[in-house]
């Protein structure tokens, strides 16, 4: 009796998460209908975001926030991937346990800092540095990208380290016995063996960078301008949604649901890819 109850309960919990996912998709899709019918796929390539007189009607396009989201994420990934890989290799292959332990712990702690703290730190401390060294306003694509990179590095490094740690010592020792250098071992044994986990960690970090709201809202400048230069301010999908959701009505609100749907689909595809790679690794 108790066992059956427990079985049903856990079954319910498991299916619930599936229904929530489908439910969110359905809600986004329904509310986005208005904008989808009005703008169709042109929405993806239209730069305008102009509410009409007295908040009725207007022309909305998602091009700028979509580009802003992609560019800030690309900048973050370009910076974060090599650094995170370096950290993971250092921790698993080079550092002694005495060094690796505290570094590992501090990296895990970094991953736990709430994003708004990164945002505040970025605006009040980091933005003036960027303005002085690179130019521009201080807030913009580059600042947002760098702080995003700092946010996802610990996350990426931790997962990559874990998957590198799964390389059987026998393989490495055999390679060393054949006369391979440390670099050869990392390049030809450790990296190929943990490839699935590394790609998975990169894609999960990518998913996080795409959806990050608070830190980016502080740093990207939140303007509906297409950036011409890397330090120019622009906006991203989550930032646009956070700033305007409370005030929007009718068609503008529907356009925001359309944007949310786009972000949802992109993130969903990204996470599915990551899962696919993780599974690929386990089956091997």
């Amino acid at each position: 009796m108790g066992g059956k109850l427990f079985r049903n309960f856990s079954f319910l919990s498991a299916t619930l998460s599936f229904f929530i996912l489908v439910g969110i998709f359905a809600v986004l899709f329904t509310y986005a209908q208005d904008a989808m019918h009005t703008f169709g796929l042109d929405f993806l390539f239209n730069e305008q975001w102009e509410p009409g007189e007295d908040d009725e009607g207007g022309i909305f396009g998602g091009y700028i926030p979509i580009v802003g989201t992609l560019l800030s994420t690309v900048i973050a990934m370009v910076i974060a991937v090599p650094i995170a890989m370096g950290i993971a290799i250092f921790l698993t292959e080079i550092a002694s346990v005495k060094v690796a332990k505290p570094v590992s712990i501090s990296i895990e702690l970094l991953a736990a800092i709430p994003s708004i703290i990164y945002g505040m730190w970025g605006l009040f401390y980091f933005a003036p540095i960027v303005q002085k060294t690179v130019g521009g306003n201080g807030v913009g694509l580059l600042t947002a990208g760098i702080v995003l990179a700092i946010m996802i590095i610990p996350f990426m490094a931790a997962i990559t380290r874990d998957s590198m740690n799964t390389t059987p010592p026998v393989l490495k020792e055999s390679a060393y016995a054949m006369g391979a250098t440390k670099f050869d071992v990392i390049k030809d044994v450790v990296m190929p063996y943990s490839k699935g986990g590394i790609i998975g960690s990169v894609i999960l970090a990518l998913g996080r960078a795409l959806g990050e709201t608070m830190a980016v809202a502080f740093l990207i400048g939140s303007v509906m301008h297409l950036p011409k230069h890397i330090t120019d301010p622009t906006t991203s999908i989550p930032v646009l949604l956070a700033n305007n959701f409370a005030e929007a009505e009718d068609l503008e609100l529907s356009s925001m649901y359309y944007l949310a749907l786009i972000l949802f689909v992109v993130s969903f595809v990204v996470i599915s890819l990551a899962k696919f790679y993780f599974f690929g690794r386990k089956q091997r």
């Binding site: 303005q131 201080g138 400048g221 939140s222 509906m224 301010p233 305007n244 409370a246």
Partner: protein, 333 residues
């Protein structure tokens, strides 16, 4: 065991939180008058024991939530036209007058030193002037060393009544500028922040930035603000006195539910960017409306000081009398 205790304590604490009080009046809307409403509600509670709760979320939200009857009263910096009020079945009246200042962050230029002519303001916010040493700005600032640095314009990221009132002023200078709660800015370097505090933080952080913020945010942060050329061609420093001079030129008509934007007032000593803020009431709720008007009546009578201390201009006695008559005419006093 201790975990259990903690959970029990947390549950008990959350149950002990004050439940929604039926007697409490709830309002939501404009963040521009947020500080003065906060002072008024707490003074009112001390004086009468009655609770009024105002959440400064933004004018757009205020209009939306009172239209949907989610609150007892809504706040908006943008007055609604009489036709719109009839459609949404709302009453409307002003509470205080506030002002918008142009705050800046330029090395070596102190508070009140920068003089901005109407042409200079237009040039900065439309992007015609790209550098601080542009002739149109330098012309009136012979004594200042303005840097050859690009101007960053700080604006609002959200729809805002402050922006509505500021663009209303810009439109008076340059009719091609569209009045809007969230216009498309054409200046070369624009950075947007959420709410008055977001814009204030941006100006503070970005060198060679300028932006429009509510006066009380300037008072709080000590950011330097410019003298602005008014309609009659005088440069006016933003002070409570120059706001009061400006507020005298507002013409209120109760028949139109006080629909009026002060905008760019006459007067040699008037600061040119002032704006009133409004309260919206649902027409059918006579009983709660009486409680809301009782609160504002109390504030009009007893708490001008709190408004003035925060940098707002209390309404003149004659306007208050007009509002009281308006309440009586609609039987909500």
């Amino acid at each position: 065991m201790t975990f259990k205790k903690i959970v029990t304590a947390a549950v008990a604490a959350s149950l002990a939180l004050p439940a929604v009080n039926a007697d409490e009046l709830k309002g939501r809307g404009a963040s521009f008058p947020g500080p003065v409403y906060k002072a008024w509600t707490s003074d009112y509670f001390k004086a009468t024991g009655k609770k009024v709760n105002y959440t400064p979320t933004g004018s757009g939200d205020g209009i939306k939530s009172i239209t949907k009857r989610m609150v007892d009263f809504g706040g908006s910096d943008k007055p609604l036209k009489p036709g719109k009020l009839d459609k949404k079945k709302l009453y409307q009246f002003p509470t205080v007058v506030g002002s918008i200042v142009l705050a800046y962050n330029i090395d070596g230029v102190k508070d009140g030193e920068l003089k901005l002519s109407r042409a200079a303001i237009d040039a900065i916010f439309t992007g015609k002037a790209k550098f601080w040493d542009d002739a149109v700005i330098a012309k009136d600032n012979a004594g200042l060393k303005l840097p050859h640095e690009p101007i960053t314009v700080c604006v609002r990221a959200d729809k805002s009544g402050t922006t509505f009132n500021f663009t209303y002023f810009l439109n008076k200078i340059d009719p091609t500028f569209k009045v809007s709660k969230k216009p498309t800015w054409t200046a070369a370097k624009v950075v947007a922040g959420k709410s008055n505090s977001g814009v204030t933080a941006n100006i503070k952080q970005i060198k060679n930035a300028i932006g429009y913020i509510e006066y009380s945010y300037k008072l709080k942060t000590g950011l330097p603000a410019a003298q602005v050329e008014n309609k009659e061609g005088h440069f006016i420093t933003p002070t409570v006195k120059s706001f009061q001079d400006a507020a005298k030129y507002a013409t209120w008509t109760p028949e139109k539910h006080f629909y009026a934007v002060i905008g760019d007032p006459d007067g040699a000593t008037s600061y040119p960017i002032v704006a009133a803020t409004f309260i919206l009431l649902p027409r059918e709720k006579t009983e709660t409306n009486k409680e809301v008007t009782a609160f504002f009546d109390w504030a009009y009578k007893n708490d001008d000081k709190a408004a003035a201390d925060l940098g707002y201009v209390p309404l003149p006695e004659s306007t208050k009398e007009q509002i009281r008559k308006y309440w009586e005419a609609h039987k909500i006093k």
